[in-house]
């Protein structure tokens, strides 16, 4: 999956599995927590999904809320701190 496809997959996941509000518009640059679209606990589920689509292991302790506010920021963060996954 290239980066654009990863971003699209995350947008789809967040809309369908997290937000559940028909008619919500979301782009890879939409603020999520700071705009109140999602609560911060949902970030755990989203982060696990980011690991899946990027095939990286993300050390959660090295991430701050501001690194996770948009889908594009999440992917950039994953690239910066993520490590290749050994096993699923």
């Amino acid at each position: 999956m290239d980066e654009a496809a990863q971003a699209q997959e995350l947008v789809r996941y967040i809309l369908q599995e997290i937000i559940h509000r028909p008619g919500t518009e979301l782009t890879p640059d939409s603020p999520l927590v700071s705009s109140g679209l999602i609560d911060s606990f949902a970030l755990v589920d989203i982060l696990v999904k980011v690991e899946d689509v990027t095939n990286l292991r993300i050390p959660a302790g090295k991430i701050q809320a501001k690194d996770m506010d948009t889908v594009n920021l999440m992917l950039a963060t994953a690239k910066r701190v993520g490590k290749p996954r050994k096993s699923k």
Binding site: H20, S40, F41, V44, L47, P59, A60, G61, Q64, K66
Partner: protein, 565 residues
């Protein structure tokens, strides 16, 4: 374990055999930090020299804002080695709401008036300005650890057990956390009683994902192994939440025997660890999983046992404890009586709400609920149940838990006002509600969460459990609270719950009827208002549990009729 023959925590630490394994800090499969006691002490000595170079003197407060790991533990020990008073604060993570974090950071650092504030090199710059520094205080990043000279002599400190050893913060869910100052004597007394209660041996090995800024993490999983020279296997709370199964695989890999957990962990593991992962776990090494810091729920215990029976989970290992930062840690511990299990009692739900009395009834009978005890008082501790007027209540009567012990705190740091409210005539009023039965303490909730409907006492978790038993309500996603209804002159129960699927919203009328009927049938009290919401609506705490007060605010903001118009 043998009794401790030392006056201070640092004396106990320095007596450890250098080759004995101490901390295994697990970050990831290929990133595990390990130290022996000898290495740990050596690192602490180096850092102590560094602290002295920064002007830290005995009695100075040193605040540590560092991620979970060996470094923060070394810094903590180093501060104690120079007679300073360390306090660990939560490290920011992606789940913490920045506004709330900044409020806590500035409030706590202001109150402690620390000499030195140690943050790690990754600490976000934008948060640094919220650290309140008084006078000549310093903030330092990334203190040198191996850089200090090893031939540097530790300062001579009086071997005085009444010196303050450290400050731990009480886990307040609302308002500012309160700093609890604890002496070496209080901590050592607690550890001796606790180790006897859990029959600690040199074969024990502790597993923990608990944060070190909380008493369960700091006392049970750091001070206890430090003083008794035991190994501890740790990971950070965020790493655990991301991969809940890692707790079970670490217990399996390191053959851990003891672990302290808040109640929700049992359900969280049962629901989030996939069936595919489960065959890899072997829990046969575990002596005790100690349920602590939340009311113990029979339902959670059952769910865990069902999920992990094939992995060696046994009812005998599911123990409980009632612990408070103000008491250093444990007041009670289960498994002290011959049965070896926490007390379980079925009581009439109606008598509990109407008369505030836990009246035993036949197991499983109509309108009854099963309550699990937190065990008996450990040595040196006394608990009593008191009425709001301060009168001691007889067995089975629900009241506020008050405690007295030889490890009780002197007071909240720099807060005589709060101390005076909480401590009366040598007894600490915990704010928790419970009752005693057959010498066992049953804790049923926080006084501040209690819903009082026309003199009936209702505990939100009982209502929430009934609501969640409806098949179309998402399990664990209901919040009940009381709202004053001026027309009735009393509280009314308000329930908000998430439906399982978006499409269930079309059936709200039938779900609502069923929920109302179930609550009346079990508790004998009618619900004032039921609000059903789509999935993911309820506000959750960082631990993933419904956050009652925030959810309540969210609902009131959406529903003008709840604003007492």
């Amino acid at each position: 374990m043998n009794p401790l023959h030392c006056n201070t925590l640092t004396e106990a630490m320095l007596a450890a055999p250098p080759d004995q394994p101490f901390i295994t800090m697990w970050h990831d499969e290929d990133e595990v930090d390990v130290v022996t006691f000898g290495e740990f002490v050596q690192m602490a000595r180096c850092q102590a020299a560094d602290f002295v170079a920064h002007g830290v003197t005995p009695g100075d407060r040193v605040i540590l804002v560092m991620p979970q790991g060996i470094r923060v533990m070394v810094s903590f020990a180093a501060a104690m080695l120079v007679g300073a008073v360390p306090a660990i604060m939560a490290y920011p993570n992606f789940k913490i709401e920045p506004k709330k974090y900044r409020f806590g950071l500035s409030g706590v650092s202001k109150n402690l008036k620390a000499r030195l504030i140690v943050v790690d090199d990754q600490f976000p710059d934008d948060l640094l300005s919220y650290v309140e520094c008084s006078g000549d205080a310093k903030i330092v990043r990334n203190v040198v650890m191996q850089g200090g000279s090893s031939d540097w002599e530790l300062p001579e400190l009086p071997s005085d057990p009444d010196r303050i050893a450290f400050i731990q913060h009480s886990a307040g869910t609302t308002g500012l956390q309160k700093g609890v100052a604890l002496s070496h004597a209080a901590v050592l007394a607690q550890l001796e009683h606790l180790s006897a209660a859990i029959r600690l041996t040199s074969e024990d090995r502790i597993y923990s994902w608990l944060p070190l800024y909380h008493d369960m993490g700091l006392i049970a999983c750091f001070m206890l192994p430090l003083v008794y020279h035991l190994p501890v296997v740790m990971q950070s709370p965020t790493d655990w939440v991301m991969r809940p199964g890692s707790m079970l695989s670490l217990i399996t890999q390191y053959r851990c025997t003891l672990s302290w957990i808040p109640n929700f962990t049992l359900q969280f593991l049962a629901r989030r660890v996939s069936v595919k992962e489960r065959p890899n776990f072997d829990l046969s090494s575990v002596r005790m999983l100690i349920n602590c810091s939340e009311p113990v729920r029979e339902q959670s215990i059952k769910e865990f046992l069902t999920a992990f029976a094939a992995n060696g989970a046994r009812i005998e290992m599911l123990q409980s404890s009632y612990a408070l930062a103000e008491n250093v840690f444990a007041v009670t511990q289960s498994g002290l009586d011959p049965s070896g299990l926490p007390g379980r009692v079925w009581v009439s739900a109606r008598r509990l709400t109407d008369a505030h009395i836990a009246e035993p009834v036949e197991a499983g009978s109509n309108e009854s609920i099963c309550l699990v005890s937190s065990g008996r008082c450990i040595a040196g501790n006394r608990a009593r149940i008191v009425s709001p007027e301060g009168v001691e209540l007889p067995e089975g009567h629900v009241g506020e838990v008050a405690i007295q012990s030889d490890s009780l705190f002197e007071g909240y740091y720099n807060r005589p006002d709060l101390t005076a409210k909480a401590k009366k005539e040598g007894w600490y009023w915990s704010g928790d509600l419970g009752f005693c039965l057959d010498e066992e303490l049953y804790v049923i909730g926080r006084k501040s969460d209690l819903i009082i409907v026309a003199g009936k006492n209702l505990y939100p978790q009982d209502i929430e459990e009934i609501v969640c038993s409806h098949p179309r309500i998402h399990d664990g996603r209901a919040v009940a609270f009381g709202l004053f209804n001026p027309d009735l002159g009393t509280d009314e129960i308000v329930v908000v719950a998430e439906v399982e699927h978006e499409s269930d919203i079309q059936h709200t009328a039938s779900i609502e009827d069923a929920v109302r009927n179930a609550v009346v049938a079990e508790l004998g009290v009618a619900v004032g208002a039921v609000y059903l919401r789509p999935p993911k609506w309820i506000v959750k705490s960082t631990a993933g549990k419904p956050a009652r007060s925030t959810t309540r605010e969210k609902l009131i903001a959406e529903q003008p009729e709840l604003r007492g118009a």
